[in-house]
Symmetry: C2
Subunit: 540 residues, 2 copies
């Protein structure tokens, strides 16, 4: 027996129309690709999105088609998000840091019919264009008077939408399960895999992200997504902000510490979200200036686990440091690290330890640890298992492939190994494939890295397991020293010796100028493993 | 083309299981019907709910059956909410203030198979029991050692669940559209009509209610629903609180100002929700003590429009006064009144005026004003139309009747007449049926009542239109004077004369000891209209 409620669908267009109806005067502030700041009301955002939808329809884009974007976080990219999903087509965001081969593969696999790009990426597309099989139109998201020269036929965004009416009617007959967004994720092997978000998953994830326990946004919030819109829909912040009526501040292409500091200071950003490397950059700038940006109160940090030393540095400056954890297949937010009020009395050290965990599942996501037979393991803080997720914004399949990310009983296997304690705190021990198997013992590369990162003069550190004639595998550590007072092997070993049991100590410390980073800013451990495969083959 | 996300359903049982997984130590504090306070962890709440579900299954309750409750806001009622909906049956909450005839009608119409009642209502059920056609078991929600004498066969709640296992498996094959809750609403004519909430509507409404712009609850919140659980599921607070991990404080049967003050003070309640009459009572107590309860920061007020004088009295004491508006058919929240930051510079008088409006639609609800031909009217603050709503927690039909609450184009007609301005602020001019039609002009009974409520010595005021030989209808006002320094006709007329245009002034002031209140605490204007129908028939 069904309830007697309206069957209204959860649609991305409803987010935009809601915001325009009740927050018409709220601002979206962006640093444009050309340099100057732009300011736009939500009422105008709605109108320009509707104009873009009308223009895309005129270009022949039809329901369920994919429209690709390669762009920074800025006003036009936001308009495109809402226009593309709102009109019933799929907003396919692409990370420009993927290799040219990967980008060609992705665009051909997605069958993108139209590409919307920032001027920055004209050279990139010029190189790829001959290999793109489905792209019919490329639109450069530039003002009319700043259209760059292109060695391929291209449309100008502002010209394209100028003549279109703002009363485009969003289709109301969409099913909330219809696809709204697409983002490819690169594994270490094989081609990137597409995660296809639905209207339902996007709206539900956006509502969750706006909750006080996650981003906690309302009309008084000024929120800066440093996390790129080409990366998992900027963690859903473009949706959460409009659901809640927050002021969005977009950083454009300038993500260095000084640029971010200036932008945050000028716009009184109180909440900013991004990956740890961004916060390292901003930390340097804050130390240099001896102060924090005015109004800056909270961060949401994800993408990779922040070192406890980074968390402490922010908290010491009075900025609440919240770690979120998730993945592309999870839209992406799965858990968030906050100290519950029942633990307010714990020591600072214990609280820092909790904050360095991945936190507790957000409402809507179920997290469990499974053993090798897909059985649920207890939440006792001891049992280690494959961290698995379920929920309405968790992927059930990849786009256009038969590869399933699910366990036999329908859980998404995240590829992480974790514990969950009685209060629901998840601690990722390691990526399953990054665990070091030394003799009969497992060594968490993350544990060793976190200790190494706390050593003076270490900027970044990566631990990998390499084959060892006696112990099967032993850990070695590759460090990228800080520019000032750089650490060397002896200092790192001395530092670690006091902190870790002897069997967990790396067998060697390798100093490198720059660790290899992937498209999303994570250390590419597979590259390191390939390079150092034989490093301990002579050991006894 | 569908997205590739898991088809996980939004179920009420997920709220409870989420809360138990991540907020197991959070407390639910209740004043029991017997008097003493009870404290329960969410982990224990989950277990007792599961035990109750197992017990109901043992009694023969099957999926989609209705289980009725007549109870105060307390721990066992909360356990029942989650047990009944969680097991796939329908939690039918009943207002004990309905007339005996209405209650009999409701229970027979709903075909309740089991009744869960507080000891308070044993005499009520004793009188009704012979007329109840479907009720097989009555369970008194009392401790084992406090089971009251009953003149009918009754089970004891704690005895019933004691032997049951806590590992009852909530059915996972429920459809989110399945019915989860049922609440009858009484019109002024005809039998009460049942509004049948779904799992989907309940979960979505709960998420919305937890948002910063609405109740704004997280783990640090201590929230007191004074609004009864027998009235529109206590505005969804039992769900929002567990979604967010807030501490729930339940007032039991004692809703007078002194009892509420003591409870709030003891438990450091920072957010409380209820109808204006409750806040009048608490205001008296705060004035008497010369202070507010410790920690008390915010109210959510709904059910009927609070007088601006009440809003101002709370704001003057430093308590944020938020008005919510909605109805049983809307689960109930449709709009909330907050001052957007863009209006922070407005005068206090203008802000008070905005706060006295019904506010702006919450995310998930669309509000529009329609003309008599069901066409949408502009949001210009001038056009008056029938206030209509759409959304996933808005009723599309009534349970077991053919009566439709919908317009020709699928909107729920709320029965209110309103304006909407360019910022989305809804102002209800009046109930459509309460507007006074004087000559060619419409007079809002609410406008006149608000002015009269600001007159010293007026406790409550109700304006009705009565037939008039010359003007078709003219307003008269019936006032209930305050205990101290009671107002009389002359004072009220003198007060109004300076505030309202002459043609809006009531033709008479009638002083009464007590205005007739309906089951939900609203003035019964139909009773007043019947009583005073001929009051102006001799006028010229």
């Amino acid at each position: 027996m069904h309830g007697l409620m309206m069957h209204d669908q959860l649609l991305v267009s409803d987010i935009l129309e809601h915001a325009a109806a009740v927050f018409p005067r709220q601002e979206v502030v962006s640093r444009s690709t050309e340099g100057p700041m732009t300011r736009l009301s939500i009422a105008a955002l709605r109108d320009r999105s509707a104009q873009l939808a009308a223009a895309l329809a005129r270009l022949g884009v039809r329901r369920h088609d994919r429209v690709g974007t390669i762009a920074w976080n800025n006003q036009r990219h936001l308009e495109a998000y809402y226009a593309i999903s709102g009109m019933g087509t799929v907003c396919h965001v692409m990370n420009p840091r993927y290799s040219p081969e990967q980008l060609v593969y992705i665009m051909n696999h997605a069958e993108d019919r139209v590409l919307l790009i920032d001027a920055t990426f004209v050279p990139l597309i010029a190189a790829l264009k001959p290999h793109l099989k489905s792209v019919e139109h490329v639109v450069v998201m530039a003002p009319s008077d700043a259209q760059p020269e292109t060695p391929f036929e291209a449309l100008n965004y502002d010209d394209l939408i100028a003549a279109e009416p703002a009363d485009f009617a969003w289709p109301s007959d969409l099913d909330e399960r219809d696809a709204a967004g697409l983002c490819y994720t690169s594994g270490t092997t094989g081609n990137p895999k597409g995660v296809l978000y639905s209207h339902r998953s996007t709206v539900l994830h956006g509502m969750m992200a706006a909750l006080p326990s996650v981003c906690g946004v309302d009309e008084s919030t000024v929120i800066l997504p440093v996390v790129p819109m080409f990366h998992v829909m900027a963690w859903g912040i473009p949706y959460a902000a409009l659901i809640a009526g927050a002021k969005l501040v977009m950083p454009g292409p300038r993500l260095d510490g000084a640029s971010l500091f200036e932008l945050m200071d000028a716009e009184k950003v109180d909440m900013a979200a991004g990956v740890p490397t961004i916060w390292l950059g901003l930390l340097g700038e804050m130390h240099k200036r001896g102060r924090t940006p005015e109004g800056f109160a909270r961060t949401l940090v994800g993408g990779s686990a922040p070192a406890p030393s980074l968390i402490k540095a922010y908290e010491d400056m009075g900025i609440a440091f919240q770690q979120g954890w998730g993945m592309t297949e999870m839209s992406p937010v799965g858990s968030i690290s906050k100290i519950p009020p029942q633990m307010a009395g714990e020591s600072d050290a214990r609280k820092l330890e909790l904050k360095a965990k991945q936190g507790r599942q957000v409402f809507g996501v179920k997290l469990e640890i499974l053993d090798d037979d897909d059985r649920l393991l207890p939440h006792d803080g001891e049992a280690r298992g494959r961290l698995c997720a379920k929920g309405p914004w968790i992927a059930s399949a990849y786009f256009g492939t038969d590869k399933s990310p699910l366990t036999s009983n329908g859980w998404l296997d995240t590829g992480d190994v974790a514990t969950i304690d009685a209060d629901g705190f998840v601690t990722i021990v390691d990526r399953a494939k990054d665990l070091v198997k030394s003799g009969g013992e497992w060594i968490s590369s993350i544990d060793v890295e976190n200790e190494a990162m706390a050593c003076a003069g270490v900027a970044m550190a990566a631990v990998i397991g390499v084959p060892h004639p006696k112990w099967d595998e032993r850990p070695i550590i590759i460090i990228q020293p800080a520019a000032e007072d750089p650490a060397d092997k002896d200092r790192v070993m001395a530092h670690l010796a006091g902190k870790l049991p002897k069997w967990m100590l790396p067998d060697d410390v390798i100093v490198t100028e720059a660790l290899p980073l992937g498209a999303t800013g994570k250390v590419q451990k597979n590259v390191l493993r390939d390079a150092h495969r034989d490093h301990l083959s002579g050991a006894a």
